[in-house]
């Protein structure tokens, strides 16, 4: 059996999807923190997949790497940007998707795709972590709430967080706490802040249904709900929103195998 591999090394998380070439079925996938040694992390991703599935390394015939550290994946056959990979991955899962919102660790992206999963247009956040996973992570730490618990603490009766800058927003959160604001209201305000920033980004390319949200932040239901309200479309969230970039990379790899 032949396999292909998609590896997505993002700024916070590293993801890999192993795909069976002929059936284009996902055999296995794995997610690890990126860490500082991205080359080592990429190798560990493969080791995990081999251990899980029992396949041999030689069974992997093509690897596409993506994400910020795509160039550090020494064993990759090809490098493709995460924008093209997200387009392919989402098209594979949701053929009617036309707008992809990817909220990753250090940046958010609004991507327009066509019915073939080709990239038509995109916009990314500027050099600022507002509206990204890192923003959420910093705020969760300030509020001493585990990241995965943030959504459950989110209150609709939110306190607005006006600072765009992550560092200033953090001090704003601290001063809100000092003023006696309810912690869950602050959490609600943080989620609103991300949704506002992302909505502005999506407006740059225009919303066209179906809308799919990916990336680690898509796991936060409160952000998804806030975005739904602002976008006026119900976004689709994949079961595993973190691995769609790696999935797209695997699909591109599978498509390449016929050309070898």
């Amino acid at each position: 059996m032949k396999y292909c591999l998609g590896v997505d090394i993002g700024s916070i998380s590293a993801k890999a999807v192993l795909m069976e070439v002929d059936s284009k079925k996902i055999s296995s996938w794995t997610v690890l923190p990126t860490g500082f040694d991205t080359k080592k992390t990429a190798n560990t991703l493969v080791e995990n997949l081999i251990e899980k599935t029992g396949i041999k390394i030689d069974d992997i015939v093509y690897t596409v790497s993506t994400g910020y550290s795509r160039k550090n994946v020494e064993f990759s056959t090809q490098q493709v940007t995460e924008l093209s990979c997200q387009a392919k991955g989402i098209n594979h899962l949701f053929p009617n998707a036309r707008t992809v919102i990817d909220i990753g660790g250090q940046d958010s992206k609004a991507i327009r795709i066509d019915e073939n999963g080709s990239l038509l247009d995109f916009e990314m956040n500027d050099k600022c972590s507002a509206g990204t996973g890192r923003f959420l992570e910093v705020m969760a730490r300030s509020l001493e709430i585990p990241l995965e618990m943030m959504a459950s603490h989110s209150s609709d009766d939110f306190v607005s967080i006006s600072s765009t800058c992550t560092v200033f927003a953090e001090s704003e959160v601290v001063s809100r706490i000092a003023q006696g604001a309810n912690r869950d209201s602050i959490v609600g305000g943080i989620h609103q802040s991300i949704a506002t920033k992302v909505k502005a980004l999506v407006d740059r390319i225009g919303v066209k249904p179906d809308v799919v949200i990916t990336g680690g932040v898509a796991k936060n239901q409160a952000v998804v709900d806030a975005l739904e309200e602002k976008l006026e479309y119900k976004p689709i969230v994949p079961d595993e929103p973190q691995i769609t970039g790696a999935l797209g990379a695997a699909i591109i790899a599978a498509g390449k195998i016929g050309n070898i």
Partner: protein, 423 residues
């Protein structure tokens, strides 16, 4: 899709220009600017001017023009600009201010610690707001700092025009009248007399050099294109800073000859041309060759840019009155003094004429005027031409405002879009 090829990032993917008189000329000009004003017998006066200021009249007066913007670009290319910017910031200039202004002001405050010991101190300064509004206050600061006279040439923006349309009559007269005041200003503050004959001589020389420069730019329509962005960015110095001088003509005759040779022998600016793009905005000077070489390694070339085309304007040189009238119009109609619909028209025209696959808009944090409206005109250009574009964030000389990886993700995504279309 971008195939993985293990390349040495320093491996040269472009064909180096043989012409080098532009470089020698620029170096000797700066050297002379440090020496000549110090010789009392010569009575050489120095003027600092903005890149869009009417320099020909200064040249006709025998005054040596120096360009803080050009100098800041050289300081940027020498990777000394951040230090200079910090000096200006520590003196109270906001880090949101134009980085050419900050970089230059840093060298004014601390000339001894600056490249070439800073620019030679000016006797007069001349700003023109056809490129941006910052220049007025930047030059006002210099005027106050040195206590020297400042002439500001005011060119109201050209709005709601299409290619070729002229400015409002009252605006034209307002600008034209200032040229006479400008000549008077020079005479009053430097003692240098400017005759109509001298002005005409310089305008003819400037016209000739500009025509050569225009032909060089036009020749880039060839496939493969003979010049890439860095070639034009570097060789543009004389057309900006030494316009109206004899030597500028010989510099561009030499370059044009090489360009013709390249076109005839089908020698490209880069070794393997696959994708042709347009560049909009000022260069990222501190990352110039690594940036374009990395793209050249992937077969990406830039046959045209809006930046170097900004110095491709000529007027009548038949008689003094017509020449001065055209001169007033010319300086009002520069790229950055026109509205966004002009940008859409011009870039779309370039995309067609230079047979381009896409365009890169450099959202330059330091240059607000050049970067404003980019999102709107990106959309409009794509709608008009069907060609995709991308906006990258950067800065002309302040490397603190540039993120290499973010930039590459955007540009590579554009390349992937183009490659997918081509296949």
């Amino acid at each position: 899709m971008i195939e993985k090829i293990d390349r040495d990032p320093t491996e040269r993917a472009y064909n180096k220009l043989k012409s080098n008189s532009y470089k020698k000329y620029t170096i000797s000009y700066y050297r002379n600017s440090k020496i000549l004003p110090k010789i009392p017998l010569l009575n050489k006066k120095v003027a600092w001017v903005t890149s869009g200021a009417p320099v020909e009249i200064l040249v006709a007066a025998g005054i040596m023009p120096l360009y803080p913007e050009n100098y800041a670009a050289i300081v940027g290319g020498s990777k000394q600009s951040v230090d200079a910017c910090i000096i200006a910031e520590n003196d109270g200039y906001s880090n949101e201010l134009c980085s050419y202004a900050r970089c230059h002001l840093g060298t004014v405050i601390n000339p001894s610690g600056s490249l070439m010991g800073g620019l030679s101190k000016p006797d007069i300064i001349v700003s023109c707001n056809n490129i941006c509004g910052t220049v007025l206050k930047w030059f006002q600061s210099i005027s106050e700092y040195y206590d020297i006279p400042h002439f500001h040439f005011d060119t109201p923006p050209i709005v709601d025009t299409k290619l070729g349309k002229t400015q409002e009559n009252h605006v034209f007269h307002y600008v034209r009248d200032q040229l006479d005041d400008y000549i008077e200003f020079i005479k009053t503050h430097t003692g240098k007399r400017v005759t109509e004959k001298k002005i005409m001589k310089v305008l003819r020389l400037a016209n000739k050099a500009t025509l050569l420069w225009g032909e060089i730019l036009d020749s880039c329509k060839a496939t493969p294109t003979p010049l890439n962005c860095p070639d034009r960015f570097i060789t543009m110095a004389p057309i900006v800073a030494q316009r109206g001088m004899k030597k500028t003509i010989t510099v561009y005759e030499e370059l044009l000859e090489e360009v013709h040779q390249r076109v005839d022998s089908k020698t490209g600016a880069i070794k393997n041309e696959k994708i042709r793009l347009l560049w909009d905005n000022i260069a990222i000077w501190f990352y110039l060759y690594p940036f374009f070489n990395k793209l050249a390694q992937r077969g990406v070339v830039f046959p045209v840019d809006t930046y170097t085309h900004a110095w491709n304007m000529t007027g009548s040189v038949d008689n003094y009155e017509d020449a001065m009238n055209d001169y007033a119009k010319m300086y009002s109609h520069v790229y950055l003094n026109q509205d966004l619909s002009y940008r859409v028209e011009l870039i779309s025209k370039f995309i067609k004429e230079y047979e381009l696959d896409g365009f890169v808009l450099h959202s330059n944090k330091a240059c607000k005027r050049y970067s404003m409206g980019m999102l709107s005109y990106k959309k409009a250009i794509t709608e008009k031409t069907g060609v995709p574009g991308v906006i990258i964030d950067g800065d002309m000389v302040d490397s603190r405002n540039f993120s290499e990886e973010q930039t590459w993700t955007r540009i590579e995504s554009l390349i992937e879009m183009i490659e997918a279309r081509k296949s």
